[in-house]
């Protein structure tokens, strides 16, 4: 852990292989920094992300989960992100309904050309999670180290 006592959130970013993961690569090759708290998991499409993955991340102690996919209309599989959009809208709404801070989850559409956007989004998201603090409501106490 870093030397100072500053809160370092755990953030999981699911990125679709065709747009957002490539956008993250572009952010990298353009040296556009964002906090190391963000760890990316590559998925073929945003529609591959099961709500169970997101809840599991929270259960295991993640403080924020972000899902990035191709812009609506640009999905490599033509329709995947439209399904993802409905699923995530409902899931997030349910979490909000249950009293989970609604800033902890986010969906962003980032294309392969949007390295700058990727970096901006991640900076912004990390800042939001830092302001929300540690995730207590969704964590499983047994999973704390």
């Amino acid at each position: 852990m870093s030397v100072n006592e500053e809160f370092r959130p755990k953030i999981v970013a699911f990125c679709c292989n065709w747009c957002s993961y490539a956008g993250a690569d572009l952010a990298g090759s353009s040296r556009l920094a964002y906090p190391a708290d963000v760890k990316i998991i590559r998925v073929p499409c945003s529609c591959r992300v099961n709500p169970m993955f997101i809840l599991r991340a929270f259960e295991k102690g993640a403080d924020g989960v972000i899902l990035c996919g191709c812009h609506p209309g640009d999905c490599h599989y033509s329709t995947g992100n439209y399904y993802a959009r409905r699923r995530m809208t409902l899931l997030f709404s349910m979490l909000d309904f249950m009293g989970v801070e609604n800033g902890r989850t986010r969906v962003e559409w980032v294309s392969a050309a949007e390295g700058v956007k990727f970096s901006t989004v991640m900076n912004d998201f990390v800042e939001k999670i830092r302001s929300l603090g540690e995730n207590v409501r969704l964590g499983d106490l047994r999973c704390k180290n």
């Binding site: 169970m52 809840l55 997030f92």
Partner: protein, 320 residues
């Protein structure tokens, strides 16, 4: 009831159906239970009264695996569940003979006790209910003993049936989404406290799952190792929430809002709130949708429009 029983017996005798799926009389008026009847002898125990709340459509999954046709008694709201199962190929229309039975709202013995009646010995299913208790006789108004779900009744029409027996009544006298809206209006802390209190009562008995017509997976994800989510010992943590969120999510767009989950929960957790929240959101965002109303309809989670709302609507004031 007599007409229904006579007709069922007739169909059983003339070989139209091999068995009848209905309710068997319990020890008391108020505890009939779902049962199959395959003979005239067995039919002696057949009952249909105002306490016959159970939705029988889910039993048709097993019944359809058996030889011959099964006569199934469906109330108007149960017929939606039947249709939903039909649209998911879980049951075979050809193997069912549906008698749409009349329903004027179903009663719950819990509601009678909640109305302040103690030491119940017997009860009628009449309007008003005549209750004999250890402390004497009393009455309870029909409406006061009705299941919560009947106050937001889907209507008196069956969406699928072969014949109809008995009169039905639309018993709606409350706003279906009022409870959900009340929670939506709470602060995050209040919401969290509310669900924490409710869900910590969960003993993971799986009654909600077992009764739910939409939760009809051959094997539940929580019982398989596919997601490494096998049921563990109950602990006071996120796990119940995870279970109930996922359960609600899995039935989202498929749940007909039959309310069986809340009816059977031994801990009295208002589980229908999860389903109804999804239904409310779906109606608001993607247009009015009633699962089971149309067998051919594409569900809201297996369809989309290019103009759908972004998930950020949730953080921008929520879906109301």
């Amino acid at each position: 009831m007599q007409e229904l029983k006579a007709r069922a017996l007739e169909l059983l005798k003339n070989g139209t159906v091999q068995r009848v799926l209905g309710w068997r009389i319990g020890e008391n008026t108020y505890d009939p239970e779902p049962a199959f009847f395959d003979s005239e002898e067995a039919m002696k125990d057949f009952v249909y009264n105002n306490f016959c709340a159970a939705n029988l459509s889910k039993y048709m999954i097993e019944a359809c695996k058996l030889e011959g046709k099964t006569l199934v008694c469906l109330k108007p709201c149960d017929s939606y569940s039947f249709n939903q199962l039909l649209s998911e190929h879980r049951i075979d229309r050809e193997k069912a003979y549906i008698i749409g039975v009349g329903c004027k709202g179903k009663l719950s013995i819990e509601k009678v006790s909640q109305a302040g009646v103690k030491g119940i010995l017997s009860v009628t299913d009449t309007d008003p209910l005549q209750v004999t208790t250890l402390y004497g006789d009393t009455t309870v108004a029909y409406k006061d003993a009705m299941l919560s779900r009947c106050h937001v009744c889907k209507g008196k029409d069956h969406v699928v049936y072969d014949e109809l027996i008995g009169e039905s009544e639309d018993t709606v006298d409350a706003d279906r989404f009022a409870e959900v809206a009340a929670i939506e209006a709470m602060s995050p802390e209040e919401k969290f406290a509310f669900f924490q209190a409710e869900l910590s009562k969960c003993i993971r008995c799986n009654a909600c799952r077992n009764v739910c017509p939409a939760c009809s997976c051959r094997k539940c994800v929580f019982d398989s190792n596919k997601f490494d989510s096998t049921q563990k010992a109950n602990v006071d943590s996120f796990e119940e929430k995870m279970f109930h969120i996922i359960r609600a999510f899995h039935v989202a767009g498929r749940c007909t809002d039959c309310g069986e989950c809340s009816r059977v929960c031994p801990q009295g957790i208002p589980l229908h709130l999860f389903n109804r929240k999804f239904i409310k959101d779906i109606n608001n965002l993607y247009g009015e949708y009633q699962a089971g109303a149309d067998v051919e309809a594409k569900g809201p989670l297996t369809s989309f429009t290019t103009e759908d709302a972004e998930p950020s609507v949730v953080s921008q004031g929520g879906i109301r």
